[in-house]
């Protein structure tokens, strides 16, 4: 139940057996089914979710009813609306499961308590948040300055699993392009034609 979690934590920090045992007591294991919501727009995001198994997505829906993908999370990834979680304000996102998922949920109170009780977890989360900032900055720069083709190439290089595992219309939405454009880019790349 905590295999992926501790393997991921141990990549970044060292945890003793006793600390692992203590950390476990702050998390609530939760199974959700495909298409089931974990968070709906307008509600406050009260937990951080770690994905032990399965696949989640976060997205918002515009006035025309079009979904815009924000983030995907599969085994070893975290998912939450951090803005809502930290500010305790209603979320503008939906989070649901693309595949049946096994999660570990931690509430805000338990999160704070865990960081106090197991200080090494604070270091783990600092590393995680740093990586998250870098990744968000990169995505922002890419969305401003890269062409659709460049965005796709970057994504396939940095996140090949995302391209393989996630339905193409969702990948297109994540890149901010239409499914038709994504299909054209993929065909073009398959034929070995790239922008010089």
């Amino acid at each position: 139940m905590f295999e992926v979690f501790f393997s991921q934590v141990k990549d970044k920090v060292l945890l003793s057996e006793a600390e692992q045992k203590l950390v476990k007591t702050f998390f609530s294991p939760k199974k959700i089914r495909k298409k089931q919501y974990l968070l709906q727009e307008g509600n406050i995001c009260r937990h951080l979710a770690f994905v032990e198994k399965g696949l989640l997505r976060s997205y918002n829906v515009d006035e025309k009813g079009i979904e815009h993908m924000i983030h995907f999370a599969w085994e070893g990834w975290w998912m939450a609306d951090m803005l809502s979680f930290l500010s305790i304000e209603p979320s503008t996102y939906h989070i649901d499961a693309i595949e049946d998922a096994e999660l570990l949920l931690i509430s805000r109170t338990n999160f704070e308590e865990m960081l106090l009780s197991v200080p090494v977890m604070e270091r783990y989360f600092r590393i995680l948040f740093q990586n998250n900032i870098i990744s968000k900055e990169r995505r922002l720069i890419s969305s401003i300055s890269n062409s659709a083709e460049e965005k796709f190439i970057h994504l396939s290089t940095t996140n090949p699993e995302l391209i393989k595992r996630i339905p193409q219309q969702l990948v297109a939405s994540y890149l901010g392009i239409t499914p038709e454009t994504l299909s054209r880019i993929k065909n073009k790349l398959a034929k070995g034609i790239t922008k010089s």
Binding site: K31, L38, C45, A80, I95, N110
Partner: protein, 161 residues
Amino acid sequence: MQYNLTVAILGAGSEVGQLIAQKIALKYPLLLMDNSEEKLNQVKELVVKNHPTAQVEMVVCSKDASWEGDIIIIAADQIGEQEAIATKINEVTTCKTVIQIKQASSDTVTLQNILPYSKFISVDWAITAAIVEGNDESSLSITGEIVQLCGLKPIFKKSLI
């Protein structure tokens, strides 16, 4: 995260289990579990018949039901069965509300020691009222609401442990 809290009723075929399932079906999505498949089918049919819009699922395993549920109600009649359920679900109920239903007239022991990391609530179930005992404020409030939906008056008592 916030979503519709799902209630798992373990021992849903018992008299109290059936009553709770009937009364809360419109308020919460339900996961019903009972060792008797026949009783389980009966409860589900009854709930769906009375509340066609209710979200009700039957789950064979108490651990799976508790893993998926946010609030777990242990409503089996026999304490031996309750203890067996508690032992099975221990791993998946950390930080979750677990409600043990005890018949007020009996001297059923508490399952709290088997579920040390859950937000444990004990309910002494009588005819017109129920004594609700536990430490976690939010779990006490949810349990009080469930008791009320079942037509009983909740009497709150802070846990002695």
